[in-house]
Symmetry: C2
Subunit: 713 residues, 2 copies
């Protein structure tokens, strides 16, 4: 006997179902997705229900089976709604009844890691359990109308109530935590609350267990995103975190539209979705912090995000992304997307150059994205962002560079083989701490071979860089930031600019990294480059028959020293060739004392856990102050298939830098006989109208505000 409660009424509503039932009778992407889904479900439900006793960690059989089950219940539930064929409802019911029998008997998961992650019962960590519930509560909602009161009682009392209890009152720390684990948990509990009519659970989900607002979903929306919608753990976790934010918000909107959840904090949920898209290059997310590098905009989390956002806004730029995602969701919003794509309504999504303020107030540093206006192939990510909690890396002021679809100056991302049991159970590898998080694994200054904040997350979370300025116009995007707290007594200021010279297809990067201290230190600035070393303008002293390790700790113990060089004072150039067929030359100003170290990752790696990637490190061995000045220049083409190579040689002819009070002046001449000056003022508290003058080679120059690019005839 079905009860009177409206069902379904979470992400999918009865009104949605009505139009979806019409849509599956008509040709189009939505129908095709429905047919494919039904085919899959039809095949799955002929097999026996498998609800194994939890045993394995991530990637293992029981882990994967329980993950498959929630997806299968969801897919089958939606098929029931669309076909109104009872066999689908019965399959979900039977699986839920099996879970309802198993769940109350379960102890904590045998593969739990005490003290590190909160344990689950079906899974080794409670995070997976919350994810399971977010899906399963929806599956239950989809078949609720088909169940007898007795069946409902059995399922709710055996499964949902104990699981909600376990995830909420029995795990107050996770539940109240302002962190993505907390978001999954509050979403799971809140959504289950709507389905079971337990509005108290919804209140707890929104405001924390004690309903004080110190924890809970709204607090998470306040704290975890910056006003621009940047999530402080970075895009990899932003994408992951997005799912419960978007899904729960949609469920709230359905059940309690009076809460105006999508207007909360000036529309923070929609901003977060859009920012997640902005944080991608060539469909992949910028891999800062603990990131798996193959994650991109086609992940299901962002498919759901874009779908729900389009449902709310009808923004046709989102359809461009939906097209690339190439996945239709079987919901009311999914139907809207499918029909809009069928009607070719997509318009190009606009990727921007932008400084995304970090922290809940948007003033705790920033993540800066620079993109080339011409062609749009190039992107520079500059990271004067905050630490980003436990998954954050010690990489203040680092950068990454992308061109022609590929990583050029790269970030290692996380050291992890997700779900590969043979690699440390598929979890973060020990090398994630010993290498990937360390400062030397990034493209920023390392002082005395130590890691920022001495490797303390706690300290890192307390401090953050300061964004001095960010400006962007048609040809130049430039930003400057500083941090004094990464190392005691050392001030780091970096200015990066992406500059499109007139008539050039590719933009240059200018990098001025200024280090100041009152005592002597060793300063290392690595460039982790992707490609094959082609040439250097100076002689290399290469290790021929024996390789040693570069250092003892803080990531240095993982670097083989392959070659070193001490170039003469003046311009030093290093050229490499990327798989994308383009050459890249890094031109640096050397003082005759600094040296280059060429390294490869792989030392102290007994189990071959690390990728053997290459870097060169600009080292100033002993100095109080030092300024690293360099240019990165994409050029030419190597096309062995068509047997031609053009412009394999850099166009940078000379490079100089001087400081005139607060003004930095970088002078660049090219083989084409052109001369350029970049002047900028990276002092604190400079206003937009401040007038700056400086004398250079006897000529007086003037600019107002932060910077000017001079093309000297």
């Amino acid at each position: 006997m079905a009860m009177a409660k409206t069902s379904p009424n979470l992400v999918v509503t009865t009104a949605d179902v009505k139009s979806m039932r019409v849509a599956i009778t008509q040709d189009g992407q939505f129908k095709r997705k429905f047919v494919a889904n039904k085919l899959f479900v039809d095949q799955q439900i002929t097999q026996a229900i498998e609800v194994p006793t939890p045993k394995d960690g991530g990637g293992g059989y029981t882990h994967e089976r329980h993950k498959k089950n929630y997806q299968l219940m969801y897919d089958t539930g939606i098929t029931y709604q669309l076909t109104q064929d009872d066999q689908y409802a019965h399959y979900v019911r039977d699986m839920l009844l099996t879970y309802a029998e198993l769940y109350p008997t379960l102890p904590l998961h045998p593969k739990r890691k005490m003290g590190k992650q909160n344990p689950g019962k079906l899974f080794w960590q409670s995070l997976n359990e919350a994810v399971w519930l977010v899906y399963t509560s929806q599956a239950y909602d989809l078949i609720l109308s088909s169940l007898t009161v007795e069946e409902q009682a059995t399922i709710e009392n055996g499964l949902f109530r104990p699981m909600v209890k376990f995830l909420s009152v029995e795990s107050p720390e996770t539940f109240n935590k302002v962190h993505n684990h907390g978001t999954w948990t509050t979403a799971a509990v809140g959504m289950t609350g709507y389905v079971l009519g337990e509005l108290e659970w919804v209140e707890q989900a929104l405001y924390g267990l004690d309903k004080s607002g110190k924890g809970g979903f709204l607090r998470q929306l306040d704290e975890l995103f910056s006003p621009q919608g940047y999530y402080n753990e970075g895009p990899y976790y932003q994408r992951y975190a997005l799912m419960p934010f978007v899904t729960f918000a949609k469920a709230i909107q359905t059940n309690q539209p009076e809460r105006k959840i999508f207007e909360y904090r000036n529309g923070i949920v929609l901003k977060a979705i859009d920012t997640t898209i902005q944080l991608s290059y060539n469909q992949l997310f910028f891999p800062i912090n603990d990131a798996i590098k193959s994650k991109g905009i086609d992940t299901i989390e962002l498919v759901n995000g874009v779908t729900i956002a389009y449902g709310l806004t009808s923004d046709t730029g989102l359809l461009d992304i939906a097209k690339q995602q190439n996945q239709i969701v079987l919901t009311g919003d999914g139907l809207k997307v499918a029909q809009a794509l069928d009607n070719n309504l997509a318009t190009p999504y606009q990727f921007n150059s932008v400084a995304l303020g970090d922290g809940n107030d948007g003033r705790q540093g920033a993540l800066v994205i620079m993109r080339q206006n011409v062609g749009g192939e190039q992107a520079l990510l500059f990271k004067p962002a905050a630490q980003g909690l436990g998954h954050g890396h010690f990489d203040k002021l680092t950068w990454q560079f992308y061109d022609k679809g590929e990583e050029i100056v790269s970030d290692y991302g996380a050291a992890r083989f997700l779900n590969v049991e043979a690699k440390y159970g598929g979890r973060y590898l020990p090398e994630n701490n010993t290498w990937a998080k360390q400062t030397i694994a990034h493209n920023t200054v390392v002082v005395d071979e130590k890691t920022h904040f001495n490797g303390s997350v706690k300290k890192g979370n307390k401090h953050h860089p300061e964004l001095l300025f960010f400006e962007t116009n048609e040809n130049i995007t430039i930003s400057s930031a500083k941090i004094d707290s990464a190392y005691p007594g050392v001030s780091l200021t970096r200015t990066m600019a992406l500059i499109n010279l007139e008539h050039q297809e590719q933009s240059l990067v200018i990098d001025v990294f200024d280090v100041k201290s009152t005592s002597n230190h060793q300063y290392d600035l690595p460039v982790h480059y992707k490609g094959q070393l082609i040439s250097t303008s100076f002689e290399l002293d290469t290790q021929l028959t024996s390789l040693g390790v570069l250092g003892e700790a803080n990531g240095y113990q993982h670097l083989w020293l392959k070659a070193q060089a001490q170039p003469n004072a003046g311009l030093a150039q290093i050229t490499w060739l990327n798989d994308n067929g383009r050459f890249y030359t890094s031109s640096s100003i050397m003082d005759g004392d600094a040296s280059f170290l060429f390294t490869q990752i792989g030392a102290n790696d007994p189990l071959f856990n690390l990728r053997n990637e290459n870097a060169f490190i600009n080292r100033k061995a002993t100095s109080k102050n030092h300024t690293f000045v360099s240019i990165l220049e994409p050029h030419g083409e190597f096309n062995p298939a068509k047997e031609f190579t053009v412009n394999a040689v850099s166009r940078v002819q000379t490079l100089s830098h001087q400081k005139n009070k607060d003004i930095d002046i970088v002078e660049l001449t090219t083989t084409g006989g052109k001369r350029y000056l970049l002047a900028f003022n990276a002092a604190e508290n400079v206003n937009n109208k401040q007038s700056n003058t400086f004398l250079f080679n006897g000529t007086k120059y003037q600019f107002s505000g932060r910077f000017k690019w001079f093309e000297v005839k």
Copy 2:
């Protein structure tokens, strides 16, 4: 005043031109190509003609400019024929006149390498000069009818006659050489002969300078291809050599159809074109010998080959390849291809498992291609082929394995950055000799750290492996070959099989490498694998803080020794993960004495010329006889984007091998509880009907011919 001679009349005829002029008035691929070509030409001919005095080597300005010029003259010439607009003829004429003025003044090229390559005048090697003439003779033919007699005389006397003289009577060695340089030269001279009406040159091109038939184009067709159309330098040079064969053959067919050149030697030219296609995987050529790995079926040489072959045969399978090449040629045959593609006439091209006999008689070993019948994702290349002249590698009985579009067990190819001036002038690097050609750089047995034939090309060319058998059926392709001459006193016999187990999506490779000697030797069998090492079934002794070099010479000096292991007797498994997301496990039978060495390329490489690729080497340190037995097994999927990993563990549970008289028996059991036997007879002179019996575990088995696969219940 134009002369009476028919023009054009080489690859393109007046009849072709007639239909092409119609085609460019109608929508379709041909017209689109014409429009694009005309756009390019129109833009180019507004610029001043540049015919610089030769100065630079490969990749340098004058080298590239003269290459551009021949292409430009050709493209402009065809535009003239199609538009009948005189400006195009005039542009080609003016450039030819400039060349006619320059050429007689030229000494040998300043960048020539005496004693290595024959020098040219426009280019550093005469090969490029011959290529230039193959194109330019066609360009001249295309505008001939527009020229006055005086203009013709100036161009022919200043340019074509001296160049033909330089390439033929003045370079008899190259001209008469049975080698691809010779083919380009004879084609250039013969084609120019047709255009200038000098049939004597054609005779010389066909039969050698002395017209004895000891050299020349026909001799090249006799000698350079096997009866199946395999070119003895391998696919990279086959593709390159194809161009003059196909182009000159087409010109002969046009001018002297009575020669029936396409029927010559049972249609060897068409067979050569087809074999070139068969020698590819995922659009790229198998990179044996000195090969640039990015070369594939879309190279212009094979575009021309496929176009001319389709023009002759109307084989719709060729259209499948033409579609993938996605390049239309502006010729009569090109029009046929374009129209056929417009009409969707393409049918799937059939890639086969085949043993391509090597040598002019097809009996000097063979190149064996095995392909999976189910799905077609997998290919195994087994190489009991002959040395293949100076570009051949010392890699007898090596193999390569491909799956899901990627290299899995790889060949280094050539050590060369084509046309990159900074890398040894763009020529073959010194490391091509010290590494790429050496036996250890391949996946075959190295005896006593020495290279096959002690690295002597001369000796290599004299000997070749013997193909013992090749058989293929729906589920199994198997081949066996041996060579006794690679090392004095050591006999090498290898049997490889690609086996599709019932109900499995991916095929296994079984490899039995039998080494026999009457004295003790060290035997190394490397597997150059592509991917990240995931796990080993035995403990690794990994070098943590210092890497040493593996050996002194013959390529060993380029290998860092990263780890070693001496697994217990029994099964030893090594699993890696390829970028294609699939796992690969190599399972070997170990005797408790043999060891594994894990290496990386990169030692003794002062200029970073080598790619840092990985291998593991199965080493039997001292033995007279040794049999290496292993299985390569693709399995599972690693999908970090969708966050799942399945079947990351090998299904091979046990593996054994025994020899029963002439019969090898490999027994395999899998975790699914299945048991299989592969029995084969790799003795010499076994006929197809020979009956073999053997006893295994007390059971008697029987098979006739070379092999049988038993699925034991």
